[in-house]
Point group: C2
DNA sequence: GGTGAAAGAGTTGGCTT
DNA sequence: AAGCCAACTCTTTCACC
């Protein structure tokens, strides 16, 4: 299938540059990748239009936001009629930063951030109160080694070709 | 504790606005939060300086990057002398997008993205080849419900002191 | 995809509270 | 210390090649 979200090497180099600093000027990026300002602008416009770029965002220190505690919570649904309603309910909770449907003994894996361990307890009670949730298992994060890394694409590195 | 990364309500509102679109103009943000362009600029400058804002980045569709397969991999170390070297080795792997030191039966939880299931096998072999790694357990993602959400801060409207 | 010019945004210094 | 205004510079954006 030839889909509409494939990108070429030039797109990859632009995305890599912008993942390090999305506010770099198009002139600056163009100089690095070998295009004019307007050409970079046009490619970025198309990347947004095609949905390759979803959002220009921000990496913030969670501690500064009072979110110094992280846990991964596995969630198991029961076999009832409410299974389809679990994900929308989890989406409403601001503490649930990430939610994946997974294979295995559990149905969902959620990444949850709170101010401290005690606050996770409240979130777990709220999750267990959702119709369709059978049980949860939590894995507490002691230290986040890294996350929110800039892109590292194989085709984006060599800028010195002749 | 009064540390150097605490933010006030105005900072929270600016960060929330920028997490939705980090390229919004300072004039636009200022209009929303009730500050002048220059005042927003100065606050953002200080947020960067204090390390609250770590980076202006980009949310990209992983499928467009050829990273359509996601798994969470738990990693258990053996008791040997190599434990401290495991995290740096995992950091070198571009497929490992996130790494957390965790409590429980395993030592690390890694979020890994590859093009397809077969490619995960190669990454798992590479991880198991790191000195100090005893075993791994993988959880395959079937569908990512959400991730990379804009900030949702409880304090973005009401102020609170400790 | 490039060029150039108008419109818009970022940046800085001086002043006010 | 924090904010506003205004001037200045740089960037984005768009018509045209």
């Amino acid at each position: 299938m030839q889909n509409n979200i494939s990108i070429d090497e030039m797109d990859a180099r632009i995305l890599t540059a912008m993942s390090v600093d999305s506010r770099r000027s198009y002139a600056d990026i163009g100089h690095e990748v070998g295009l004019s300002t307007a050409a970079v602008h046009e490619r970025v416009r198309k990347l947004i239009e095609r949905g390759v770029i979803r959002r220009f965002s921000l990496s913030v220190d969670p501690l500064a936001l009072g979110l110094g505690f992280t846990a991964f919570v596995m969630i198991r649904n029961d076999g009832g009629v409410h299974c389809r309603e679990v994900a929308p309910r989890l989406r409403e909770m601001p503490e649930v930063q990430e939610l994946h449907s997974v294979a295995g003994e559990y149905d969902f894996l959620a990444k949850i951030r709170t101010s401290h361990a005690r606050a996770l307890e409240d979130v777990l009670y709220a999750i267990k109160a959702i119709p369709g949730v059978a049980r949860t298992t939590s894995t507490v994060v002691l230290n986040t080694e890294f996350e929110d890394r800039p892109l590292r694409l194989p085709s984006a590195k060599s800028s010195e070709n002749s």
